[in-house]
C-alpha cells in the first residue's frame, strides 16, 4: 500500500502518457486540406427548423452538408445506381456517407434560398473526446488510489 503511494507521481505520469498516446490513436486531422474537410454549422431553414450539420462544400449552387440522422423505422437506405440513397418516410433526403450503429450520416444538398441562417461554429476545441478522456483519467486516478 505504502509503496503504491510512493509511486504516485510515477503512476500519474505514466497514466498521462498512456492517455495522451491513446488520444493520439484517434488520429488528428493532419495538415492536408483533404483531411480537414468539413466545418460544423447550424442550418436554419425558412420554416424555422434548425439543425446542426457539417458543411463540406458547394455543388451547383447549393450547400453540401453532412447531417447525422438517428436510425428509425422511417429511415431506409436504398441502393440505386451504385449509390446509397437515404429515404425518410418514403422521401429521398440525401445520400448515405456512413451507416453507423445508431445513426446514418446523410449528405444533403441544401438550396441557399431555403436557408435563412447559416452559422459556423468555430474555436470549438473541446468535444466529447475531451470529456471522456478527462473522465477516464479521473476514474483511473481514483481507482489507483483505492488500491
Amino acid at each position: 500500500m505504502r509503496s503504491i503511494r510512493a509511486c504516485k507521481p510515477v503512476l500519474a505520469v505514466l497514466l498521462a502518457a498512456l492517455l495522451a498516446m491513446g488520444a493520439g490513436c484517434a488520429a488528428g486531422p493532419g495538415a492536408r486540406f483533404e483531411d480537414r474537410i468539413g466545418v460544423p454549422v447550424r442550418v436554419t431553414l425558412a420554416d424555422s427548423t434548425s439543425y446542426g450539420a457539417t458543411l463540406v462544400g458547394l455543388k451547383e449552387g447549393a450547400y453540401l452538408v453532412d447531417r447525422e440522422i438517428p436510425k428509425s423505422d422511417e429511415l431506409v437506405v436504398v441502393r440505386s445506381g451504385g449509390q446509397d440513397f437515404v429515404e425518410e418516410n418514403g422521401r429521398v433526403v440525401g445520400t448515405a456517407v456512413e451507416i453507423r450503429d445508431f445513426d446514418v450520416v446523410v449528405r444533403q444538398s441544401v438550396p441557399p434560398q431555403a436557408v435563412t441562417d447559416l452559422s459556423v461554429r468555430t474555436d470549438a476545441y473541446f468535444g466529447w473526446g475531451t470529456v471522456i478522456a478527462a473522465g477516464l483519467a479521473f476514474a483511473l486516478v481514483i481507482a489507483i488510489e483505492d488500491i
Binding site: K8, A12, L15, A16, L19, A20, A23, G24, A26, G28, P29, G30, A31, F33, E34, D35, R36, I37, G38, V39, V41, R42, L55, V56, G57, L58, K59, E60, G61, P112, Q113, V115, D117, L118, S119, V120, R121, T122, D123, A124, Y125, F126, G127, G129, T130, V131, I132, A133, A134, G135, L136, A137, F138, A139, L140, V141, I142, E145
Partner: protein, 156 residues
C-alpha cells in the same frame, strides 16, 4: 461515492462547461469580419481553380481571399502600391490585399475575389490548419490533464 469524488466530478463538469464556452458561432456571411478561420477550394464553371480563406458565404455569392504564389503560370507584377496578379497571361479580377513571402521564399499575393454561387461548379470547405491542429492538441492534452489533476486534488 465519497464527497470528495463527487466534488471532483462536479468540478470537472464545470471546467468542461466553461471551456466549451470558448466556441463561437459566426454567421457564414460574416466570417471574415468576425475572425472565422475557414479554408475553401473551388472550381468555377470556366474551369478556374481557386484556393484560399473563406471571407463570406451568402445565398448569392462567395468571397474568398485567394492565394497566388509567384511561379509557373502565376506572376505578380506592378509597383508596390499597384500590384496585379497575372495567371496564364490574364489579370486576375479582384483586389490585391497583400504580397508576402512564403517560408520557401516565394512571393505570394492575397487577392480578395467574389464569385457568384451559380458560377461555382464545386467547392470543398475545410477547417483551418491552425484550428485543426490546435483542436487535436487540446483534446489530447487538456482532457487527460484536467481529469488527472482533479483526481489528484480529490485524493489530496
Amino acid at each position: 461515492m465519497k464527497l470528495g469524488s463527487l466534488c471532483g466530478v462536479l468540478a470537472l463538469a464545470a471546467v468542461l462547461a466553461i471551456a466549451s464556452g470558448c466556441a463561437r458561432r459566426i454567421p457564414a456571411s460574416e466570417l471574415g469580419e468576425e475572425g472565422g478561420d475557414v479554408e475553401i477550394r473551388l472550381t468555377t464553371a470556366a474551369g478556374e481553380q481557386v484556393g484560399g480563406r473563406l471571407v463570406s458565404l451568402s445565398s448569392s455569392d462567395v468571397v474568398v481571399d485567394a492565394l497566388y504564389a509567384h511561379g509557373g503560370d502565376v506572376s505578380i507584377e506592378g509597383t508596390p502600391d499597384r500590384r496585379r496578379v497575372v495567371v496564364d497571361g490574364r489579370d486576375v479580377d479582384g483586389q490585391v490585399l497583400a504580397v508576402e513571402r512564403t517560408p520557401e521564399g516565394r512571393a505570394q499575393a492575397t487577392v480578395r475575389r467574389t464569385f457568384s454561387l451559380n458560377e461555382i461548379t464545386s467547392a470543398e470547405i475545410a477547417r483551418s490548419r491552425r484550428e485543426a491542429t490546435l483542436g487535436t492538441l487540446i483534446s489530447q492534452v487538456a482532457g487527460p490533464a484536467i481529469g488527472l489533476l482533479l483526481g489528484l486534488l480529490v485524493q489530496g
